[in-house]
């Protein structure tokens, strides 16, 4: 029940007055990506890059432009083979407000041949066929309906999922 002339409604369940703010806030944050621009351009070209320190050999995924182990910033972008093994996964049934327009999605962590791990969606038709340890492929994909490139795991091998 709304009270005339006030931003207050009486909550039907709790029978208490609730004041709703008049000042709605909307924000889209901005990120500086100049140091890892090649990673994003790679996705458009169908490549998923990690970064590798030319000085000490440390590999980073997600890629980072500074090797914070040996303090060198002499890094190269390394094309990942995409070959991975499933370490663990979940299915997001109750979604955050900004993901409400997607069907339930599988979030997986896969260990890549190069030794690093990645967290990404696992695109499968039937989640009941997912098994820990199964072989996966990490690929650049276009996410709809936004139409932007990202990366995802897909099952590989005998089409077992």
């Amino acid at each position: 029940m709304k009270i005339e002339g006030l931003p207050i409604v009486i909550d039907q369940k709790a029978k208490i007055p609730i004041y709703t703010s008049l000042r709605e806030l909307r924000v889209n944050y901005q990120f500086g990506v100049s140091k890892i621009e090649k990673f994003f351009n790679g996705l458009r070209e169908g490549v998923v890059y990690a970064s590798k320190c030319r000085s000490c050999g440390e590999t980073y995924f997600p890629p980072q432009a500074d090797c914070t182990k040996c303090r060198s910033s002499d890094i190269e972008f390394l094309k990942l083979s995409g070959e991975a093994e499933l370490e663990t996964y979940t299915i997001i049934n109750i979604k955050p407000s900004t993901f409400a327009h997607y069907k339930d999605y599988v979030v997986a962590i896969g260990r890549l041949k190069e030794g690093v791990k990645a967290l990404a969606w696992l695109e499968v038709d039937d989640p009941s066929k997912i098994r820990i340890g199964m072989k996966l492929k990490l690929e650049a994909v276009k996410r709809e309906p936004e139409g932007v490139y990202t990366y995802a795991f897909k099952p590989c091998g005998d089409g077992d999922a």
Binding site: D11, A14, I16, I18, S21, F31, F61, P62, E87, T88, Y89, T90, I91, I92, N93, I94, K95, P96, S97, T98, F99, A100, Y102, Y105, V107, I109, V116, K117, A118, L119, A120, W121, P127, I132, R143, T150
Partner: protein
């Protein structure tokens, strides 16, 4: 790292001399400052002090859910605590313990003799899907949320999947955590949930983030908790039963889940436990010889099971067996979350860690409600407060006995 003997050279003993807790739950009857006052008033009364006696205020609030951006100033103002000095801490779900740690340091260092620690959170000011969004963003937003929308239950579900696959625990084993904590919540008048549940009800509830279901998850709650800390000299004037801080261990891990070594344990919790035990003079190989009662971070049922193992209450892969044998109920080897835990008492992020300290102080003083008082024989209690999914961890050990390291 400092050798063990160094603590006493630099630090004073710190005692808890007053505690207070609001009722946890959907508290849309009050604003955040009014909610803070509920616990601050109780803590001041419990300590028998006036606001003028307080020299510093450490306030834990995660924020985002709530319109107020400066909760420390706002709540101190409402509580008539101006011209003290204050700040707000953030350590995700361990925000309250971070506030406690900050207050502890202010007293231990000699900066202040009496400090108020307040933990307060008003999560229900945001609609539930927005609250789910804020909590899900609380890791590495750019790399793991922006494109993949992992929720907080999702992060713990990644651990549940791995744990169940490796050790053979079933969904009923997870449900046993919820059944126990709802049972004790039913005995706690300040708990968000007061209903008892069965394993059958729990396993029938709907999936939130497979394999975790609704009854595997703590609620989104409002609440506040407050603790008054005092130096040894100040504490002796205020109480005959000071509760001493015997040890604190803190740690942090990678923001990205993809940079974790495994998913059946929280490495930050193991690290914090080792540090806290070391400071408290507790043997990591046999903590149950020292600890009477514990509050562990059961934001999800799997988290309580991993906590048993990370704290070495149980061997690796055997945490869920403690529940099958009811060893974490009162009467068992180690009563855990006998206030209802996050699962039933509720999890107002900033209030949770301070609430654990308030609860364990009352346990050691033998002041809790009938049916949920743990036997106190060894005189030590442990609070295990995880921030995020093992992003932060704070472990605090309280004692009836004055620590040997304090100067």
């Amino acid at each position: 790292m400092l050798p063990f003997v160094s603590w006493g050279l630099f630090m004073r003993n710190v005692a808890i001399v007053g505690v207070g807790t609001s009722r946890f739950g959907v508290r849309n009857d009050v604003r955040i400052d009014e909610l803070a006052w509920e616990s601050v008033k109780d803590a001041l009364n419990d300590a028998g002090i006036e606001q003028k006696d307080v020299e510093f205020c450490s306030v834990g609030t995660f924020g985002s859910f709530n319109a107020e951006i400066l909760p420390a100033v706002l709540c101190c103002d409402y509580c008539n605590l101006r011209f003290k000095g204050t700040l707000r801490t953030e350590a995700a779900c361990a925000t309250g313990s971070a506030a406690f740690f900050t207050g502890f340091n202010a007293v231990a260092s000699g900066f202040a003799d009496i400090v108020l620690v307040l933990g307060v959170e008003k999560m229900c000011e945001s609609p539930t899907p927005v609250a789910v969004e804020f909590i899900g963003r609380s890791a590495n937003y750019f790399w793991e949320f922006e494109n993949f929308g992992v929720t907080f239950p999702g992060y713990y579900a990644l651990h549940a999947t791995a744990y169940m696959n490796k050790y053979g625990a079933g969904e009923e084993d997870l449900a046993r955590v919820a059944v126990k904590n709802h049972y004790y919540g039913s005995l706690n008048p300040k708990a968000h949930f007061r209903n008892r549940i069965s394993i059958e009800e729990a396993v029938k509830s709907r999936y939130v983030a497979w394999p975790l279901k609704l009854y595997d998850c703590c609620p989104i709650s409002d609440g506040s908790a407050a603790v008054i800390l005092a130096s040894e000299e100040a504490a002796r004037k205020l109480t005959d039963t000071p509760i001493w801080v015997r040890g604190i261990g803190v740690s942090n891990d990678s923001a990205n889940m993809s940079r974790r070594s495994g998913f059946t344990s929280l490495a930050a919790a193991v690290d914090a436990a080792r540090k806290a035990y070391r400071m408290a003079g507790i043997d990591y190989d046999d903590p149950l010889r020292y600890v009477d009662v514990a509050n562990v971070h059961d934001c999800f049922t799997i988290a309580e099971i991993m906590a048993y193992e990370d704290l070495n209450f149980a061997k690796r892969g055997e945490g869920y067996l403690l529940l099958r044998e009811e060893q974490t109920y009162i009467g068992g080897k180690i009563p855990v979350n006998v206030d209802g835990g996050l699962k039933a008492k509720g999890h107002p992020l900033g209030a949770t860690g301070v609430g654990m300290i308030a609860e364990l102080t009352k346990q050691l003083r033998k002041q809790v409600e009938n049916g949920r008082q743990a036997p106190i024989a060894k005189g030590n209690a442990l609070a295990h407060n995880v921030g995020g999914t093992g992003h932060y961890c704070y472990i605090t050990i309280l004692s009836l006995e004055k620590p040997k390291w304090g100067g």
